[in-house]
């Protein structure tokens, strides 16, 4: 503590760093958003994927406080404890210790100058556990006693002064909704950060009592074996990490890791458990002795209502919302709404973006004239920007819903309701919403997996999502069904096309679940994560927070995945445009008659160009590979083109057949596919071939945006490449199997 404060005062130019920590659902992020400006920076520590957000204290607030130095605030992940059982806790711990745990004052990120601990006044019996752990760390700290208004409403007896007196820490009551108390809180935090508050005797005594340990021989022995490499405080964290098997998350040096690994895991588990029990003893003492969080009307009405007053209203709501019949119906309705919103409501906005892009393209063409450079700008860059922007409505809507549901407390109930089914795959109930979103679009869905705290489970979910039949596959199914299956054919009351469509969706859903179950048991083997899930009280969601989340996620997508998508669009454009065909096509400027121009049909020119291009040649070259699944080189080119986005398959196939604008109206293309004949006079595209192609599209990862976003979320190329290869190979095998088995059975 001393070292940190002395460096802080000796170098006045360096910004003061404050760290925000608290349980999930205590309004910590809301507080963060209120005291900082809009410009937030996202960072993360080596070896972990959980991100931290940091931002500067709002200039206005700083001026009001008369603070000359700039102040940086870090929003650490919400967590119930600092024992690094999972990534969230490890990141929070590292945020408080200065990046590395157990290396003393070795270089690394400087520990924060002060810690702001946010406690939920309605839930002190749980929140104080984290408080006790933060006190153990011994950083200068202040406590924000948040939701003090809600606690008062629920009839809870909370006196900030009593809490402050008993902990020996400044306690500032705050109200997240109105921003009340934030000024006093920041002022207190700055005083603590500058070392102007010396620790109270109460705090020192409390800390000493905590660090003295519980007097169990196992604990002391385990801690002693770490004494050589780490401070007593760090040794406790290392012991917890050893118990949970998560040493690698702490970013500690090899010597520290070796010393920790030398401790027997069972000994570490017992010791860490004893420490946890010991801390709760302290919490219970605080709660019981000082009447913190006691109901004011204790003994008044029935015991069942006064024992968890903050939950009374929620419990009444839950009678409907988690009811075994009604609750499920409401769940289905909420999910249907969420799904419809990204599936259908995003449509007009996406149409608008597409129109804007085509208007831009037209404008650019008019401005630049014809030429390769124009093509690069229009078909490469502008189209690439369009490919990025077109996802924004879906991402925005999904996160709007997810944010509101999360904030209101319903998301935890949704996980509670559906967990039984998700556990069959080996996943947590929280994986449900991202998977469902995958039916609309994999991009927001994959970004939505951030709510899943276990890294392996998150990865399994990310790898499952592209199997869900997204909305971009729909135009392909529709084209093929309409072209190759007679509309009047029916099985019983059901139209054959409808049945095939249903079949594709079923196939994709079942495949996703099976793939997830397989990954969970093989390459990403891990036990079904325990569902230790808090069901927080229902609250009115704060729209401001949700909108910030939407903005944040959208910008993150544009910056991080967008650049990759843009680059890939340009590369794909080059592949499908170069080399240029030998150019007799150029409209003769001297050509005086209309006939001469119309002889060079632009559609035919485009057809010639794409066939002659590198991509076209690849399409031709891979025809032997496509024959077993009943496809020809034209489809080959379309498959290559659809890597830009699956629905592009329709327009690429249109180009191959010399049909312009197939994506707007696929009727000419449909007729072309229906009537196209091979040299021997047979039908070029058979229903069986169409079925095989649809199955191929169910499985194939033909979407560079998905690849880009998986790279962004997993922070390496390893998983996106694995995903792309495994899905495409599997798609090929499945399509060949469908076609060949179909042939054997005598279908055509």
């Amino acid at each position: 503590m001393n070292a940190a404060t002395s460096t802080a005062t000796s170098r006045p130019r360096e910004p003061l760093r404050l760290a925000l920590i608290g349980n999930p659902n205590v309004g910590k992020t809301s507080l963060f958003n209120r005291v900082t400006g809009a410009r937030q920076r996202v960072g993360n520590y080596a070896g972990v994927t959980v991100e931290l957000r940091e931002a500067d204290l709002r200039a206005g607030l700083r001026a009001e406080l008369g603070e000359g130095r700039s102040v940086t605030i870090v929003d650490l992940p919400g967590t119930y404890s600092l024992t690094p059982i999972a990534e969230d806790e490890a990141v929070a711990l590292r945020g408080l210790c200065g990046e590395r745990v157990g290396d003393g004052e070795r270089p690394g990120r400087k520990p924060p100058d002060a810690v702001i601990l946010v406690l939920d006044a309605t839930n002190l019996a749980r929140n104080l556990y984290l408080a006790v752990q933060v006190i153990e760390l011994g950083r200068p700290m202040v406590i924000a006693l948040n939701m003090i208004d809600v606690a008062a409403e629920a009839g809870l007896e909370i006196d900030p002064e009593v809490l402050s007196r008993e902990l020996g820490v400044a306690v500032i009551p705050t109200i997240g909704r109105t921003g009340e108390g934030h000024y006093a809180l920041v002022r207190a935090a700055l005083l603590a950060a500058k070392g102007e508050v010396s620790p109270t005797p109460t705090l020192i005594a409390l800390r000493q009592r905590l660090l003295a340990g519980c007097g169990e021989a196992g604990v002391d022995g385990a801690l002693a074996s770490l004494a050589g490499v780490a401070s007593p405080v760090a040794a406790r964290s290392l012991l917890g990490a050893r118990a949970a098997g998560t040493i690698e998350l702490l970013g500690a040096s090899p010597e520290v890791v070796a010393a920790a690994e030398a401790i027997d895991r069972d000994v570490a588990l017992d010791a860490a458990s004893a420490l946890a029990i010991d801390r709760y003893r302290e919490v219970d003492r605080l709660v019981a002795e000082f009447g913190l969080g006691r109901h004011r009307a204790l003994g008044g009405d029935g015991a069942s209502t006064s024992s968890a007053p903050a939950m009374d209203r929620s419990e009444r709501l839950d009678r409907a919302l988690t009811h075994r019949v009604l609750g499920l119906l409401i769940f289905v309705a909420v999910m249907a709404l969420l799904f419809t919103s990204i599936f259908a409501w995003a449509e007009p906005a996406m149409g608008l973006i597409e129109e804007l892009i085509s208007w831009l393209s037209g404008g650019a063409r008019g401005l630049l004239g014809e030429g390769i450079f124009t093509d690069l700008v229009v078909d490469g860059v502008i189209a690439g920007v369009g490919n990025v922007l077109v996802f924004i409505p879906q991402i925005g809507l999904l996160f709007l819903f997810v944010g509101l549901l999360e904030d209101s407390g319903y998301m935890a109930r949704a996980a509670f309701l559906i967990d039984r089914l998700m556990a069959k795959v080996g996943l947590h109930g929280k994986a449900f919403v991202p998977l469902l979103s995958g039916f609309a679009c994999a991009i927001p869905a994959i970004m939505g997996t951030r709510t899943i705290s276990s890294w392996r489970d998150r990865l399994v979910t990310i790898l499952m999502i592209p199997y869900m039949s997204c909305s971009a596959r729909l135009p392909i199914y529709v084209l093929l069904i309409a072209a190759l299956f007679p509309a009047e054919e029916a099985v019983g009351p059901f139209n054959i096309g409808g049945l095939i469509l249903l079949g594709m969706y079923l196939l994709s859903t079942i495949s996703a679940l099976v793939v997830g179950a397989i990954y969970k048991r093989t390459i990403l083997r891990s036990p079904t994560p325990p569902l230790v899930l808090e069901l927080p009280p229902y609250r009115l969601p704060r729209l401001r927070n949700t909108l910030l989340l939407v903005y944040d996620r959208t910008m993150d997508f544009v910056r991080q995945a967008g650049t990759v998508i843009l680059a890939m669009t340009v590369v794909l454009w080059a592949l499908l445009s170069f080399p240029k065909p030998p150019a007799p096509v150029d409209a003769p400027s001297t050509g005086p008659t209309i006939e001469a121009v119309s002889a060079v049909d632009p559609a035919e020119a485009a057809e010639a160009a794409i066939v002659h291009s590198f991509g076209g040649r690849v399409g031709l070259a891979i025809e032997p590979v496509l024959t077993p699944m009943g496809q020809d080189w034209r489809i080959g080119i379309a498959i290559l083109g659809s890597f830009a986005a699956r629905e592009v398959m329709v327009s690429t196939l249109g180009l191959v057949y010399g049909i312009e604008g197939a994506d707007d109206d696929d009727r000419p293309l449909r007729e072309e596919l229906e009537t196209a004949e091979n040299d021997d006079g047979g039908r070029r595209y058979t229903p069986l071939g169409g079925l095989a192609l649809m199955v191929f599209y169910v499985y194939a990862c033909l979407c560079m945006s998905t690849v880009a976003v998986v790279r962004r979320e997993t922070r390496s190329w390893r998983w996106p490449i694995f995903m792309f290869l495994s899905m495409t190979i599997f798609a090929y095998i499945a399509a060949v199997a469908v076609y060949q088995v179909g042939l054997l059975l005598g279908y055509r």
Partner: protein
Amino acid sequence: MRPIASLAASWRSRRAFRVAAELDGRRWGDALWRSVSPRSLAELQIGVDARIVDVRGADSLRLRLLEMGFVPGTAVRVIKCAPFGDPLELRLRGGHISLRAAEAGWITVDPELGDPP
């Protein structure tokens, strides 16, 4: 199939206890339940107050349960179970927490010591 069967079983057993309770003239189930306490939290009847006496668990599960407040001596009550029979909703330390029956099975509780959580 299994959850439905187990739900049916638990409903049947609850009825049996209610009958026993009527005979006994006390709160339903109390007499019979008390004869076999302590038991696992997964077997605790809905709405019965109990106190945690022991927490076990493979790997880090024990540590996680302890850190979430399932420490010996803490009062707990099962509020309800989810529609498919699992997980459970528990009241503990003035808040609500959900656990699967598999995890709750590691926690031993004693209804005899129960106070409202």
